[in-house]
Point group: C2
Chain length 256, copies 2
């Protein structure tokens, strides 16, 4: 008898967030699911890992149909490392991260704990996908994502992603019948124009809150994830962890 | 009279670490230097930002010749955002990060707070360079790095790096006369083979320490940063923040 695929599910919003509950409920149709996710929200943690402190894990019981599940005191990347190196009986066939509450399109990918967990999965040589819904509402409706997630999981179990590549999937905030389909894209050139709001604490000392406005530098380009989402598509961007700007190497060799 | 370049200096080891003191002492020869760096070590923080909590800054007095200096309670990326959006009188001409105590070559770049600060600088449209010395010793000798840092700063002030590209510079642990020179390279394919060492606390509960061994998957390739460092060169890798795996887009369009 063929072994069922082993699927690791994680996120950055915490082990009991609605998004990860929805994702694990889909994943259990495709294999043996183990969930290990942070014990508290870890948004904006990027590829942070815990090296100057210790980690703890605890069994949890939120995910129906999972063969095992844990919360971890660390970051999303810690969760993937802990799963692969300590908790799982063998190397997983698939790493799923999300569904994030909020967009991870464009430049958000580099701040995203959700996507860093997927990138870490790809570093471990496993097909990995990060899912995000462009809706921060705790009561966001995740059901329109289901059929697309099923299609992508099926595809990645059949046609393994190449070494070093994972997928960044973002869903627009739309009803199922309003979604135009899947679109394979590149990461849009965009950034946050930020400000730090200064406040005074009760003792007269200043503190700051990071605030910002997202700006797409190429709103007309139709091959980007931002365009896809603005036009009702689910965006799928293949993401790699080789950060080398290969096309600048020759220039540097001639000038430095 | 021409305005002096405005140079932002940061790191991830903390505002008073020997590496950043050495870097600012070089930077002051090239322009007006403002230092803003974490108030405590932030190694392994990757591109983490502080979004669910507040930030505080405090004036410090460690850096001789700097026109202004601060410690910040946030991550290295927070420091760059705070500098650019709040503290600096104008957009900086150069962002320098480091000198990190320990290597940031190869895959270490994605975990590195030092390099994430440089990447954030490039996101803000500024030439940015991260420097690291392959020596974790608090008493490491940074003097052999000086002439190379001077050369790279001069070059980047004269020939601005293109939008979205920064430099990842790593120094081997060698004396000045043992260093073979600068080498422009690509990021080596490598990873950490990790383990979590399990211990018991005094109350009988388990906790874990992340441990690992670095493995270079292509030790024979002579165009990588790992090869350069092993062979006595200072490695320089141009790094970008577009993570799109462009050469996999067509395959996905045909299969998904």
């Amino acid at each position: 008898m063929q072994q069922k695929p082993l699927i690791l599910v994680t996120n950055d919003d915490g082990v009991s967030a609605p998004g990860i509950l929805h994702l694990s409920s889909i994943a259990v149709k495709y294999g043996d699911v183990v969930v290990i996710a942070p014990d508290k929200p870890q948004s904006g943690m990027g590829h942070a890992i815990t090296i100057n402190s210790t980690l703890r894990i605890q069994k949890t019981n939120f995910h129906k149909g999972a063969i095992d599940e844990y919360s971890c005191t660390g970051t999303p990347v810690d969760c993937v490392k802990m799963a692969v190196n300590k908790l799982l009986p063998r190397k997983p066939d698939l790493v799923l991260s999300g569904i994030n509450h909020g967009s991870n399109s464009s430049i958000n990918v580099i701040y995203s704990g959700t996507m860093s967990a997927a990138i870490e999965g790809s570093l471990e040589g496993t097909s990995a996908i990060g899912f995000s819904l462009c809706d921060y509402d705790i009561n966001a409706d995740f059901t329109p994502t289901t059929s697309f997630i099923e299609k992508i999981i099926s595809s990645c179990l059949k046609d393994k992603l190449p070494q070093g590549v994972c997928l960044n999937v973002n869903f627009p905030k739309l009803k199922a019948d309003e979604i135009s389909g899947l679109k394979i894209c590149r990461q849009a050139k965009a950034n946050w124009v930020e400000d730090f709001e200064e406040r005074q604490d009760p003792y007269g000392r200043s503190y700051y809150w990071l605030t910002g406005k997202f700006v797409n530098f190429e709103p007309e380009a139709k091959d980007t994830d931002e365009w896809a989402l603005q036009n009702g598509y689910v965006s799928v961007v293949p993401i790699m962890h080789d950060l080398t700007a290969h096309n600048y190497i020759t220039h540097l060799q001639n000038t430095l």
